[in-house]
């Protein structure tokens, strides 16, 4: 079964990059520009895994994760944060918000794919 991924990032470069990396691994990739947009497209693509940036306009990654977790259907969907932030506090905040794990940019394609496989049922 093809895994559906929703990648949320305000940077077009990053979106394209995640998309290129994951599409080449055979995933079905949907993208959104920020947290608000992410929530808007959530039900259209019903992702198996969500990848989100932290620093975004309108609704940041923390807010997005919290919002996703508040929806019954997505209480347990794996959410990975993709961010250049490497500080432990940020990770903790992401975890507190309900993030499953994290990936630090710039990312390596194979590791990204491995992590997704590891968290996806």
């Amino acid at each position: 079964m093809t895994l559906r991924i929703l990648a949320v990032d305000d940077s077009r470069t990053m979106r394209d990059m995640v998309k290129a990396a994951l599409a080449s691994a055979g995933f079905e990739v949907h993208t959104a520009d920020d947290g608000v947009h992410g929530l808007e497209v959530l039900n259209e693509c019903t992702p198996d895994v969500i990848i989100t940036d932290i620093n975004m306009p309108r609704m940041d990654g923390f807010g997005f994760i919290e919002s996703v977790r508040s929806i019954d259907q997505y209480k347990q969907v794996p959410i990975l944060t993709l961010t250049t932030e490497s500080a432990p506090e940020l990770k903790q905040r992401a975890r507190d918000a309900g993030a499953t794990g994290w990936i630090v940019k710039p990312f390596d394609r194979d590791k990204l794919v491995n992590v997704i496989r590891r968290v996806a049922a």
Binding site: D10, S11, R12, T13, M14, D16, M17, A20, A21, S24, D33, D34, V36, H37, I54, N55, M56, P57, R58, M59, D60, F62, G63, R69, K75, Q76, V77, P78, I79, T84, E85, S86, A87, P88, E89, L90, K91, Q92, R93, R95, G98, A99, T100, G101, W102, I103, V104, K105, P106, F107, D108, R109, D110, K111, N114, R118, V119, A120, A121
Partner: protein
Amino acid sequence: MDPMDEIRQTFFLECEDLLQALMEGLAAIEGGDEDPETVNAIFRAVHSIKGGAGAFSLDELVKFAHTFETVLDEVRADRMELTPALMSVFFRSADQLSDLVEAASVGDSVDAERMNAIMLELDALIDSDGSDAGEVEFEAIPLDFSMDFGDVEDDLPAPGGDSWTISFKPHATIFERGNDPVLLLRALAELGETEVTCNTDALPDLADIDTAQSCLSWDITLKGETVSEDDIREIFEFVEGDCDLTISFGAAADALPEIDLPPLGAPDEGEETGWELATPSQDADEPAAIPDLPELQEPAAAEAAPAETEKSSGASPARAESSRAGPTATVRVELDRVDRLINLIGELVINQSMLAQAVSNSGVPQDSPLMDGLDEFKRLTRAIQEGVMAIRAQPVKPLFQRMSRIVREAAAATGKSVRLVTEGEGTEVDKTVIERLSDPLTHMIRNAVDHGLEQTADRAAAGKSEEGTVHLTASHRSGRVIIEIADDGAGINRTRVREIAVEKGLIDPDAALSEAEIDNLLFMPGFSTAKNVSNLSGRGVGMDVVKKAIQSLGGRVTLSSTPGKGTTFTISLPLTLAILDGMLVRVADQTKVVPLTDVVETLKLNPSQVHGLSNADRGIMVRGEFVPLVDVACELGYRPPLDKLSHHVVVLTETEGGSRTAFIVDQILDQRQVVIKGLEENYHSVPGIAAATILGNGEIALILDVAALATGRNRLSDVIRAA
């Protein structure tokens, strides 16, 4: 195209937007914007540039962006105050960042000395602030899709023994974050042969089972000599705070509750920064099953606090507003495609008017459904035309932002204190016009700072504020775009200008010139008021070149100056290069178009008002003013000069500097919008002719270049006579 090349292109395109956002944000803050979201936006812009740059191994860019971002973060966290001095550093840093992006996009490098100087300034800010956030090294990891995952694993297997013992007891929280113990066990099994024992001691009665709760724990024995602890920890990476985990090699789990491991990966390995294997020990009371990693000891307040700021800023009105606004969806389209569309629509407009003319010639009654349909067709055609033109229209904002940099640089080079005030940045102009306006505007802005404004001491002596101001304004006025560059300097020294013009032989020493005429000497080729060519304005480019550049866009430039108060240059540009409001006139049995913006009024020629004898120096008196008279047909070489003027009509025009010229035409036909067609594509430019257009009957009408015909009257006649 290679997908990475494509993404790289996207990155640089995005950088343009990000740099613009950065400049906008800085300008807004300088203008008094105190919304924390503005600082956040600035931070995000720099941050995104860094993120993308890292993927393409643009190390210099990454390094600089990181340093810049670190300082911005301090501001974001309210640990640093936004002083004017700091803003100055930020502006220069933004300029530097912009240079780095540009250099990176063409594979060039930047002036290392300048970059290092700014880096030092930024670093000093971080140090003086007492924060050592700068120690958080950001390392770029080249994005390499072909990279073999296995190759980077150079962790050594633990010595001795032959199997790992792992005790894993998930907390209830593990499910809340979307992790699944079963998947972790499966991942372990992929590393090597596993033996799993499930402890069901904590399992409640079936009736009480909450599926979202974890009641099980596992003991796993993993065989595998090549497996390192890192491999195992990586699997549990995301759940380390949500479980009790002990990992030991060749011994019972409880024998080694804590393992003293070397830091995961050497600091210089991209590995570590790219893949953080550690989680913070968020709970001090919790048994430290997780080894302390070097990065944990780094104060990360710089990262955490801003996140707080960001959250608190969520309540600010601006943010709330932008949330409501929704994302502005955009599509990037090749300009060629837009231009092809514009050409087609130009033809559609012509076709529509040809059709309308044909129908009207056929004698169809005005109130017939056919005419109604034609009217609707016309309305739709115009609407489509306007819509497509709007695609090419862009706000002048980015152009104005570049000018703020020019002002900073010019101020620094001249040692003057200068403030640039911009207005009407949202004014939209054709993309090509904006692009081609950049050079002349740059030059004019430099001139304003270099020549327009006085030295600080002189300003003080004149009772002015030491800081000079340059106003850059854009607005729409009667179908044209007006851009004004106004300085509050000393004004044009007309005595000096006159002297120079005489010295350079541009004017006769006895010439009687009005103030406006003296001012306009600045636009003459070969005129330069700077005694020494300064390294600023003096690039061998004079105001004459500026004027030519603006004229080539169908624009005009004028100036006005008040001694002691300053000088204002006004550029007037067409909204689009594709359409023009024209007055159709008949000249020597041909239809010509006079751009309506040049027309002041039309008059019936009264031969008694004509003064002067020969064709070359004839003029008429219009309300007491002597206006040179130009016979268009003669000027264009269609007929010899008329000895007698009679039933002709005069079109009174005004061009830059307010100079008026009266054009003799045979008849005035109509006023209408025409689609501009360049003569250059298949022919070449013709003096006195701006372009051509196609009329409703399919005939080509030439559009007169009024400025050239007026100012070039004598020159053109001279050329013809000399030839």
